[in-house]
Symmetry: C2
Subunit: 337 residues, 2 copies
DNA sequence: CTGTTAGCGCTTTCAT
DNA sequence: ATGAAAGCGCTAACAG
């Protein structure tokens, strides 16, 4: 006689009963923890198939103290920047048996701390914090509970690891490129000054000017917020103030998109009248019109490296973390002046 | 004397001991399950603070049979389409105590089934499947274990709910707009024919032509894959074949970006020489040069509605699901011919 | 090689 | 109002 499908999802105990063995035997087969005779193994395998059994990860986690879940904190879930990074994370997780719960920090240190607590309550096995603004000491405090990998800052503690891109160098590359093309009036659409990457990029901008003996003109830098609209606002501000320039360096691609639109609106041609350089090399930047010259950050690799490093940390290995350096990608928005 | 921080994270039992009450009392306070005298409550609250206690969600989940986790399946984690939808999901989850684990289906029904099984093993309380290609019957099978909400198809079963956008109507709107501007040679960059939305959009294209008494010319439709590059390929193909047209309707914004780039490369001006319409209204489409005329899909609302519906399903309520309709957003890539 | 037993941390009757 | 005790589904000694 065939029993109908059992009430709830079947448990390991159901399987054991079906197969006429003890629960431990089933567990051993599931985990490969010990040798099991072939006939019992077959019986168990059949029982598993028949009862459509899948182990309850909550129960496993409770017992083993590891959930095979890792927590990812992004700042903004619908930003191409983070999404490309997440892509790298996702690929790095593939086939490892780990899943990720992704939460949002919204660029707020307070919210980050809150999210971390939440992830810790969920007993994630580790945390990746992407572009976090949480102070180091708080981060290290949390890291006593679970390993943490953070991007956007250098960090090397027993249970925490951080690495960063050379933003200053990237900005320097961009501006030097412009300088080499003969530009001397180079506007800069900055990022939020509170953001570490943003200030590094400003430093790179200034250093490149200095090296070219171009005096720094504060009127040429206008503060943006890394989003498209701040790029258009910045351009409008500059033109309305009568500030002249032949090139603009935007602190990220999104604000470059905005700047480009504002220029278009005013009938200023890119790159014929004004050259434009961004930062990040978002996937879309190869398809803007014209394709954007920009500083490439290996976003995918950043995500992939972060997760790989975390997985190693979880297993107690420490590893030197290497990501490809930033590099200038010359496309079609820059031209000799 | 102050004890140093205890070895592991503190447990409810530690708290109980600290406060001099029984574990049940602590639990009751945590869950508001029953009245507790005020002095004990204070003692417990203090103990919780002192021991820095946070309940172990794994244990709670094991006991209560709900994990307060929901599974989200997207097809591609670094696509602006899904990311904007995820944004709606994320906001819908805010403050509910639920977290989400996001996995990728990569447009493959097999992989989707696999991911669903994985999520089920994790005992998620419900699943949102975004643009899935899994057949209805398999979906309904999985839905016997946990409620599922799916986008991109209509579905109304006891434990599963699906809703869809009117893609045909959207495409019809786009093409009618072009027709009204005097265009009669309208190229179509399609999506993958296997994709339900893609074929609906093709139908809308054909219907709009029909209604305008414009004969359907198969030479004007070229197959794309929803990505930027297929847009440029499509344009090149059309020009190389000597096919003439004055407007192009791309089956999604990303392929419209690509088409726009190919046009630029050939010195064809948009919208003066050729008009261009996309589909989706991705966040970036308001900032392309020129800003893209497109059919707006309320991606954020789709995500938000899906998660809201799922949360209701989990609580046993059924709800009529309403999302704003698609609509034409006329920006600057279309012009009278 | 295999079964028995004792929990992981929490909630929930059931008594009191 | 509160405590004792049982157990969610699984794993890991410990015996045999």
């Amino acid at each position: 006689m065939n029993k109908p499908a059992p009430a709830g999802p079947s448990t390991l105990i159901d399987v054991a009963r079906e197969a006429g063995v003890s629960p431990s035997t089933v567990s051993r087969i599931l985990n490969g923890t010990a040798r099991v005779s072939d006939d019992k193994r077959q019986a168990v395998l059949k029982a598993i198939a028949r009862t459509n059994f899948a182990p309850n990860l909550m129960a496993q986690g409770l017992k083993k103290g590891r959930t095979h879940t890792i927590g990812i904190i992004v700042q903004d879930i619908s930003s191409p920047f983070f999404d490309e990074t997440l892509h790298g994370v996702d690929d790095g997780l593939k086939g490892t048996g780990y899943a990720s719960v992704i939460v949002t920090g919204h660029w707020s240190a307070l919210e980050e701390a809150d999210r971390i607590r939440l992830l810790l309550a969920r007993k994630v096995d580790g945390i990746v914090l992407l572009s976090g603004s949480l102070p180091d000491d708080e981060l290290l405090h949390f890291a006593t509970q679970r390993p943490i990998v953070v991007t956007g800052r250098a960090l090397d503690a027993p249970n925490a690891l951080g690495f960063t891109m050379d933003n200053e160098h990237g900005a320097w590359l961009a501006v030097r490129h412009l300088v080499e093309l003969g530009h001397r009036r180079i506007a800069f659409v900055s990022g939020p000054p509170s953001h570490a990457d943003a200030s590094s990029r400003l430093r790179g901008y200034r250093r490149a000017l200095e090296e070219a003996d171009i005096p720094f003109d504060p009127k040429l830098v206008v503060e943006g917020n890394f989003r498209e609209n701040s790029g258009v606002l910045a351009m409008n501000y500059l033109y309305d103030a009568g500030t002249t320039f032949t090139a603009v360096f935007a602190a990220n691609d999104q604000s470059a998109y905005g700047a480009r639109l504002a220029l278009y609106r005013r009938g200023v041609h890119v790159p014929d009248d004004v050259s434009l350089v961004g930062f990040d090399d978002l996937p879309g930047s190869a398809f803007t019109t014209p394709p954007l010259t920009t500083v490439r950050q290996p976003l995918y690799d950043i995500g992939n490296t972060a997760i790989t490093a975390l997985l190693r940390l979880i297993n107690g290995d420490r590893v030197p973390t290497r990501v490809p350096p930033v590099e200038l990608v010359v496309r079609e928005t820059t031209k000799r002046h």
